[in-house]
Amino acid sequence: MDPLEHVTQRREFIYSVTSVLFSLVTFALLQSGLTGLISHITAFQELPLSTFVWLVGAEWLKVGLVHLLSPATVGHGSGRTPFLHVNSKSAAPPGSRKSSTVTSFSKVLEFGGICWQTILCCGVCHIFMVLFGAPLLSKFVLTAQFSIILTGWMFVPLTFTFPAKDILKQVIYFSTWNTKLTSVLRAKLRFISTIGGAMAGVVLIPLDWDRPWQVWPVPTLFSAFLTVFAVNTAFSLYTLLNQFYPWMKPSTSRVSSSSAGGNNYKTKNY
């Protein structure tokens, strides 16, 4: 297995496990304060600050934890970076593939780029929500908060696979991701399921049950949260099984080999 692939998997595993833990804690907290949360949302048209900070801060905490436990160090040289990095300028033609991990010099620059990217992602998320039918002005704060939270859930896992500096660009080329790479496949699945989960919540909104939690964005927030929880659980369980049970191991290798083999087979066919 590619060493980077291995590192990515480890980092993602740590992320998932911490996410599951955080989600469980959130569940425990929600159990007592769910009705209070919803009534706060309906009353003030914004998430309570504590909830918001908790959800967003958790994301940053998770990233920090991942960095602490397993920095993105790859093979030849280079320091410890929290995010994967590719010098995108040399990325043009497929013929000339020169990859370089980042040096510690460009860390500062990279950090700026990442901040930028985060803000951009939040903005894009918000705009898409509005374009898909969220109210434009009347619930601006709520939508913005939700978009920030959702950005964390959707884009942070992508940074394990793709360079954080141009995540959005990669998302635009979403359909061309090479899913033969297991990490990319994972990222794709994760991304799709998060979006799908968030969108599935929409179904509840038009129903005429007149419940307080049927108002935008509560159902989508909850469905996205549940999906993220489910995905993380599934992934950490999957990795755990792969890691600790030897009879699962050949299967993974078989998967990778079969994918490669299938590849060869296909090319032969053509």
Partner: protein, 1114 residues
């Protein structure tokens, strides 16, 4: 042959779906059988002749009647009718609160209070009641109910402007047979409901009512005749005077209830009533009533409180010393059907046979009250004996309320009546009154629930037919490409040949069958059902046989012929579409369907953008696979399968997608509200015509005018520039000139027309303007329609330049030398399928098979990369890319002309939405373009197209409810004045008006259906040699049409299912039934326009082929 086969199969299956819907509606909407019996003759008069009849002074009937008991009372008439004369003044759409706005009426009814008593203690009696209508609140249904005393059936609602005669017993008939001379003034709906012979007076004046924008003509005429009628020489020419004032209703339709015009109309009606009151004799009963109310926007048809509550006022100058001719109970809401028995008893005629109304409680004088009640009950009972199902269902429905059914209750009343007969004291009277009141109430509630009696076998048959048609269409579509391909490869004796002759003949078969059955059993319906089902079964059998014989090859070929993305996006988008259909089972999703469809449309295009990698073939992938196998590294930039070309295409489709999202989001503001949407509000009344806006919205008017005109102008200009830019330099032929100049001319005309329409209100007094307003739309429509006819007869309007096209294009080739050099090689590639090696040197620069395909948004980029493949055919060089443009320009021309035609009948506020729809369609073409023609008929594009047509139904300001039908677009066409049924050209104006309403209602369906081939013809890359023939695209377009229609049919099927399933639902008449009706109509429109589009496509390809042949020989 294949095109005939394709078109005829799709047409036949669509026909099957429509038949299914009609059969279903026959079972679902039909509810009450009419009984052609009449009441009477009057008991007292007949008994006077047959038996020894005591004098009329007897307060109740003699013992001789007692033999019959209560049953014999059915034909009882009031022996002392207080009024020999009756004046009915029907003020159309007299909402209950309007009474307070009418000075005279509110004065006479006691300061506008709902319960009114004796007026100033003077010689006058007046009562005012709330008058509750049963839905549907359309005028014809209300008239029927008001005159027969029954519930109108739902199916009549859809035949409103084609009103047929009342076949049941009615008040009019009873008056006629009692020898009263009826005079009539007003709406001609009455004359179509009741035969002319009933109106025996000299004064019968019927005026056409269809022109709802004409506030004054009918009322003025009525007023004039009214003056005349009360002059002394004519005073005795009539006994009954019915007058129908239309102005208030029309004013409501045009301006809404709170416009100053409404005050004027109400005042006019008031003064007419005042005149009538002042000049009527003492023994005349004056009844003023409304047939329905109106909503806050002035529409009606539904069952909201505002629509159903109107007012009824009884006025008489007579005032007996001790008892008035009638007495008003306290504040009371009476039902509309109660009018019939009350008037019948007040005039001393028998209660019409089919009335189920109740005499207004405690309304008649005391001495006859009990008899009246008994007569009422007896008559109702006699009538409902015809409906044994009603008596049995009542047991179920009322078992928990009071443990008795109608039969038992009737027995109770009989006992009470007997008791009353023997001891006519207060308690027995009271008992009779109470029990009968209960009985009649129950009859009414049972009638409401039972007369929505469904014909279940019909419902099932309809659903079955539609289901079969949809299924066979889907099976046909998913396998026909392979069969066709196979047939083209094998020319020997083959079962498909039988098929190809069989399939077109199916429709003939059904027509034949219908006629045969028609001649045998004289019921065309059965024939149609049998023929359709048998045709479907035959089709399925034969087609299944063919599939069975070659299923292996088909399915193998099926799987490998398509890419994985194709299956993925098709599966997801069809799944989404099925979800949007199934969501119709939930009433809240039906109510918010517009928003849901917009969301689904965005989502489907999102899935398409996010799932298709836009690599033309799998070559690049396999090439990358090699790279991956050799050295797999995450950090390698090319682990994402991106070449420059794919990046470019992806960027194009993403930008298309985002523009689509923005357009869809903007179009939310054009939504109309329906009653169930609680938080919705219509601020700008965008669906109203410019002329019917409030006076003080001046800025808004200007803004709307400007925005609409600007949107149209941009649309037309960009269309023309696009054509010019795409080298479609127009020739000098008339059709090319039409395509080029007529749209701009039309926009100018339309601008003038709108400006006139939006002029400050002049009450049609300026003499020239009404004339202009009548003829301008006519001119406009004639010009547009003739242009459309011309274009569709000779569709190819810019190929005339094709001969010279290579010349102009080759001048550009200097810049694109490299691309042209590649062209010959690419042709080789296309024939030899794909080989990775071919691409190794082609990766560095722009690969020739990825032209940027988003034309509408970045037209300039096209210039540099248009790949031109010169062909030598008979010495003339052809440009293949212009071949595509020839096709697409035809459709663009036709579509823009049709858009302009439809824009005229819609309201000005909606015009930007229609233009938005055109842009959305262009964006969809950009998103769903496929690199090769093979996959261009994907289900996902059909789904997106279908969703667009359904979504823009809402986004162009419509809702599937009856009060939202845009009737007013029938009058913007002008010429509404000559809608009288008598004039010889009447059917023409009726047709025009009807088409205008349908055109307004189904703008989006018409547009999407006609532009569907653009998906095929505007997208493919220019490499294909066979596109010169256009055959494969044409087949693809047919299949795409089929898919589009199949998806619409699926929706129709689900709507039928919903309506059938929820037939006892509380909301069925409010939500599900209207939804079904609108869906059925929209399917009929969609399928017919789609068939026209297919024919047009055939015509285009035929003309194109002819032209090519011509130039080949030349």
């Amino acid at each position: 042959m294949s095109k005939v086969e394709n078109v005829s199969v799709v047409a036949f299956l669509c026909f099957g779906m429509i038949v299914g819907a009609l059969v279903f509606s026959r079972g679902f909407l039909l509810n009450r059988q009419t009984i052609h019996e009449t009441a009477g003759p009057c008991l007292h008069s007949s008994q006077r002749s047959l038996h020894i009849r005591p004098t009329e002074s007897e307060p109740h009937l003699p013992k001789t009647v007692g033999d019959h008991g209560l049953d014999g009372m059915a034909n009882w008439c009031n022996p002392t009718p207080p009024f020999p004369k009756l004046i009915l003044v029907l003020v159309d759409a007299l909402r209950f609160d309007f009474v307070q706005r009418m000075q005279f009426l509110s004065e006479i009814t006691g300061k506008g209070n709902s319960s009114a008593g004796h007026h100033k203690g003077g010689s006058l009696t007046s009562c005012v009641f709330k008058f509750l209508a049963d839905p549907p609140t359309t005028t014809m249904q209300r008239l029927k109910a008001l005159m027969t005393g029954t519930m109108p059936t739902f199916i009549d609602a859809s035949a409103n402007f084609n009103s047929y005669e009342v076949e049941e017993d009615s008040l009019i008939y009873q008056l006629y047979s009692a020898g009263k001379r009826i005079a009539f003034l007003g709406d001609d709906t009455w004359i179509s409901l009741f035969p002319q012979k009933y109106f025996k007076s000299r004064f019968v004046e019927a005026h056409p009512s269809f022109n709802a924008w004409d506030l004054d003509t009918v009322d003025k005429a009525v007023n004039k005749t009214m003056q005349e009628i009360f002059l002394t020489p004519h005073k005795d020419d009539w006994d009954i005077l019915i007058s129908h004032l239309l102005g208030v209703d029309h004013c409501g339709h045009r301006y809404g209830p709170s416009h100053p015009e409404m005050a004027r109309k109400l005042h006019e009606a008031d003064s007419i009533i005042k005149h009538v009151f002042n000049s009527m004799s003492n023994d005349t009963l004056l009844v003023i009533f409304g047939d329905h109310g109106m909503t806050a926007t002035g529409d009606h048809g539904g069952d909201s409180k505002d629509e159903t509550e109107s007012a009824v006022i009884f006025i008489s100058k007579q005032f007996y010393k001790y008892n008035s001719p009638f007495q008003c109970a306290a504040e009371l809401a009476i039902s509309q059907i109660d009018l019939v028995p009350t008037i019948a008893l007040l005039l001393g005629i028998p209660i019409p046979y089919s009335s189920i109304g109740q005499v207004i409680p405690a309304f008649l004088q005391n001495k006859i009250n009990s008899d009246a009640i008994a007569a009422n009950v007896a008559q109702v009972n006699k009538y409902i004996q015809n409906f044994p199902s009603m008596l049995t269902t009542s047991e179920k429905t009322t078992s928990n309320v009071d443990n008795s059914n109608l039969i038992q209750q009737y027995k109770l009343i009989q006992e009470a009546y007997e008791a009353y007969k023997s001891f006519p004291n207060l308690t027995s009277r009271e008992k009779l009154r109470k029990s009968s009141e209960m009985y009649l109430k129950q009859v009414k509630s049972v009638a409401v629930s039972t007369w929505t009696q469904f014909n279940l076998p019909m419902i099932y048959t309809g659903v079955c037919i539609t289901f079969l048609s949809v299924t066979s269409l889907i099976i046909y579509l998913s396998s026909v490409p392979f069969i066709l391909r196979r047939r083209s490869s094998i020319t020997s004796n083959y079962p498909a040949k039988v098929l190809s002759w069989l399939l077109p003949s199916l429709s003939h078969w059904s027509v034949l069958c219908t006629f045969v059955y028609h001649s045998i059993s004289s019921s065309a319906l059965l024939g149609i059902i049998v023929s359709t089902i048998s045709g479907l079964v035959v089709f399925l059998l034969f087609y299944g046989l063919i599939l069975f014989r070659m299923y292996k090859r088909i399915f193998v070929g099926y799987y490998y012929s398509r890419s994985r993305e194709y299956y993925f996006s098709s599966f997801i988008s069809v799944g989404l579409y099925v979800f949007t259909c199934l969501a119709m089972f939930s009433n809240s999703f039906t109510v918010y369907e517009g928003y849901m469809l917009g969301f689904a449309l965005s989502l489907v295009s999102f899935i398409e953008v996010a799932s298709s990698s836009r690599t033309t073939t799998t070559t690049i992938r396999t090439q990358q696979g090699f790279n991956f196998a050799s050295s797999s590294s995450l950090l390698a930039p090319d682990n994402l399968l991106q070449t420059l070309a794919t990046r470019k295409i992806l960027k194009c489709s993403w930008s298309c997608f985002i523009i689509l999202l923005i357009l869809v989001r903007i179009s939310f503001i054009f939504f109309r509200c329906r009653e169930e949407q609680t938080t919705c509000s219509e601020e700008f009344l965008l669906h109203k015509q410019l002329a019917s806006l409030p006076e003080d919205w001046l800025v808004h008017k200007y803004l709307r005018y400007g925005v609409s005109l600007l949107a149209l102008a941009i649309f037309v200009v960009s269309f023309r520039h696009w054509m010019i830019y795409r080298c479609c330099k127009f020739s000098k032929k008339p059709r090319a000139i039409i395509a080029r100049f007529i749209p701009s001319l039309l926009v100018v005309l339309l601008g003038v027309f709108w400006a006139l329409q939006g002029l400050p209100y002049i009450s049609c007094n300026a003499s020239k303007i009404p004339l202009l307003m009548n003829y301008l739309p006519l001119v406009y429509q004639v010009v547009t329609v003739s242009a459309i006819l011309c274009v569709s007869w000779k569709p190819i309007c810019c190929i005339g330049h094709l001969k010279h096209l290579p010349y102009t294009n080759f001048s550009k080739l200097g810049r694109n030398q490299r691309v042209v050099n590649n062209s010959s090689k690419t042709r080789v590639e296309s024939s030899r399928s794909t080989k990775p090696e071919n691409y190794t040197n082609g990766v560095g620069h722009h690969p020739p098979d990825h032209p940027p395909q988003h034309k509408p948004l970045q037209p300039r980029s096209k210039l540099n990369t248009t790949i031109v493949f010169p062909f030598d055919i008979g010495g003339i060089q052809f440009c293949d890319c212009s071949n595509e443009d020839t096709y697409s320009s035809c459709f663009l021309t036709l579509a823009s002309l049709i858009t302009l035609l439809l824009v005229q009948v819609t309201s000005t506020g909606i015009v930007p939405a229609i233009i938005l729809q055109a842009y959305v369609l262009v964006c969809l073409v950009g998103i769903f373009q496929k690199p090769s023609v093979k996959n261009s008929d994907s289900w996902s594009s059909a789904v997106a197209w279908t969703l667009t047509s359904q979504y823009f139904f809402y986004a162009t300001g419509h809702q599937p409810i009856f009060s939202a039908i845009p009737w007013d677009s029938a009058f913007v066409g002008g010429g509404g004045g000559d809608l009288a049924a008598t004039s010889p050209g009447a059917w023409l104006s009726w047709l025009r008006a009807g088409l205008a309403v349908i055109g307004n209602l189904h703008v989006s369906q018409v547009l999407t259906s006609i532009t569907l081939p653009l998906l095929i013809h505007w997208s493919v890359d220019k490499r294909r040699v066979e596109s010169l023939m256009g055959k494969s695209e044409r087949q693809m377009a047919y299949i795409l049409y089929g898919k589009y229609l199949a998806l619409h049919g699926l929706k129709l099927l689900v709507c039928m299912g919903c309506a059938g399933w929820h037939r006892r639902h509380l909301m069925v008449w409010k939500i599900f039934a209207p939804k079904f009706i609108f869906e059925a109509v929209s399917f009929i429109i969609t399928s017919s326009v789609s068939l026209l589009g297919m024919v047009f496509l055939t015509r285009v390809s035929y003309c194109h082929q002819k032209y090519l042949d011509f130039s080949q020989t030349a």
